[in-house]
Subunit: 338 residues, 2 copies
């Protein structure tokens, strides 16, 4: 059973293997990303993954061909679904069992597709799967937070080429999301307005960092981007919960993602990037517990190209060095928009 351990100094958590650990000799070996299909995520290879949790299919049987999007447990899951949380102390340290979900969303049967090349309808189906998994997983009352993410390219942590994203559901609200909740709450208390809505209106008014806009989403390079060419996509409708996205918004989100990742891919020669969705934690059963935090928050998407390295200064401080002014990043991306 993996463990969740809390660092009493930073307040951050880690997930750590407690069984046979990775040996020194196993680090730094050549990555085993498989080039070219077919792979275990390809149609016709369903028996090479654990049995599916969910799938959209026009025909065929579960765990056979005929699907358009398919969700399976991660074979190397970092958390386990079965068991008790068992929060406990170890002297002054905090520890609990590594309970949670770790799922793979195979976004298309097509091995060679990508966010920027998938047909809109297919990309919409993948986003619908993210929403549906979020709505399903929150029924498990042990879970507090769900992280949808996507690693594109080896330097961003991808180990499979086939288009896929991942979902990790956690029994605690992670530190960085908490920081965002605190900022949003402080801003709301001071201004009686949403921090993210305010950012959106300032960006639309300044118009120097905007890269894309449609009926439901505004995409821009954030004022204090951690990385060159980083893009945030904010939904125009204020809601703390990604799970409330409707079918029309899903289609607009697909258009936004396709445009932004297309511009990144053309302008920066298919750079490695991470894609994350930040959404409010699941509501706690205790009345009012999350509610005051929730309503101030605004779910959103971050796309972070991995073009710079974290070195000692960044590890020591939490500062990021950005060698490209966000206004310049935005201008390049606008010029690459189709």
């Amino acid at each position: 059973m993996p463990e969740l351990r809390k660092d009493p100094v930073s307040g951050g958590w880690i997930i750590v293997t407690t069984e046979r650990g990775k040996l020194p000799s196993e680090f730094g070996t050549v990555t085993d990303q498989r080039k070219g299909g077919p792979c275990p995520f390809c149609e016709g290879h369903e028996d090479e993954t654990p049995p599916e949790i969910a799938a959209y299919r026009d025909d065929g049987q579960p765990n056979g061909p005929g699907w358009s999007v398919r969700t399976v447990p991660n074979k190397s899951a970092v958390l386990k679904v079965e068991g008790e949380l068992d929060r406990r102390g170890d002297g002054l340290y905090d520890v609990m069992n590594g309970i949670g979900a770790h799922e793979i969303v195979i976004e298309s049967p097509d091995h060679d597709a990508d966010l920027s090349t998938l047909p809109l309808e297919q990309l919409s189906l993948a986003i619908r799967m993210h929403r549906d998994r979020s709505l399903d997983l929150r029924k498990d009352k042990r879970l507090r937070y769900l992280q949808v993410f996507r690693n594109h390219g080896e330097a961003a942590g991808a180990t499979m080429e086939h288009p896929h994203s991942q979902i990790i559901a956690l029994p605690i609200t992670p530190r960085w999301l908490k920081e965002e909740l605190v900022s949003a709450k402080a801003h709301f208390e001071f201004k009686e307005r949403c921090l993210f809505c305010d950012i959106m209106w300032q960006e639309l008014s300044d118009h120097v960092r905007i890269v894309y806009e449609n009926r439901a989403f505004v995409c821009f390079v954030p004022f204090a981007s951690k990385s060159p060419f980083e893009v945030w996509a904010l939904p125009k409708r204020h809601d703390c919960d990604f799970g409330t996205i409707d079918d029309e918004e899903i289609e607009q989100m697909a258009r936004a993602l396709k445009s932004v990742t297309g511009a990144l891919s053309r302008g920066l020669h298919d750079p490695p990037y991470n894609f994350i969705i930040h959404s409010a934690p699941f509501r706690d059963e205790r009345p009012g517990y999350w509610k005051t935090i929730d309503k101030d928050f605004h779910w959103h998407i971050e796309i972070i190209p991995r073009l710079t390295q974290m070195a000692g200064f960044e590890w020591g401080t939490g500062f990021y060095l950005n060698p490209t002014p966000p206004e310049q990043s935005a201008q390049y991306l606008r010029e690459e928009m189709e």
Copy 2:
């Protein structure tokens, strides 16, 4: 003039170029780490660096040969010493001029040396230089925090092979240090004991994560390590300020660093790592402003091997995945100790 910009959502800061930014075509090019000496940091090549800020030398003139440790401004400094801070708003955003210091400490005239192979006396001189620069830079009342760090290996961000460390002095207390100050303060208020002293005594008592101990320092793999084989070194004497280290402690610190980096190098084939010193921010002029925070804090060293990647999950949550139990990491390192 570079800018410091604050992300209103995470509360973190970035340092951003505002002049000509790095172009898309300039990312992902092959790193230009120069292999083999002589390089601009080698003895006899003093005219290839900016004029020195400080040096220890037995003979010779400033900016000529004869030195043992030499501090020069970073040619590609991310912050500038000259100018006013000019804190200001930009709509709802916070921004200030990129005022600060960015120095290179050349730790030895010997191009091919490293922390684990430098003679103890030479390593002690390098640490003394860190202390002396800290004592000197704090005289500048615009500066609040000083980060000593070292990038070893290209994957850890090193661009020069010659043994060197860096110092960045900042006009604000960085986010991650603030988090540590808050944790230390909360623990002290609850227990009336130092968090770090408590950690040290628990580690010495459990003895499963200890890797090295001498008269002045305890080195261990932290309970919730971000990375496999991460090591923290805590000074036994409680003090918030690295600047108070005395000559005998410097010699003990050199012994500890040499042993730990030697074990890492032997056990993991010279892995890339980042080395950072966390010390309390400089005292503010306003009476009592920092003092209540300071005294609870305990300066310390973190050595973070760069063996795993940050991917979407880590960027989204601030969680780290550690595939090697800290107890196992400690055992390997103990076995590699000489």
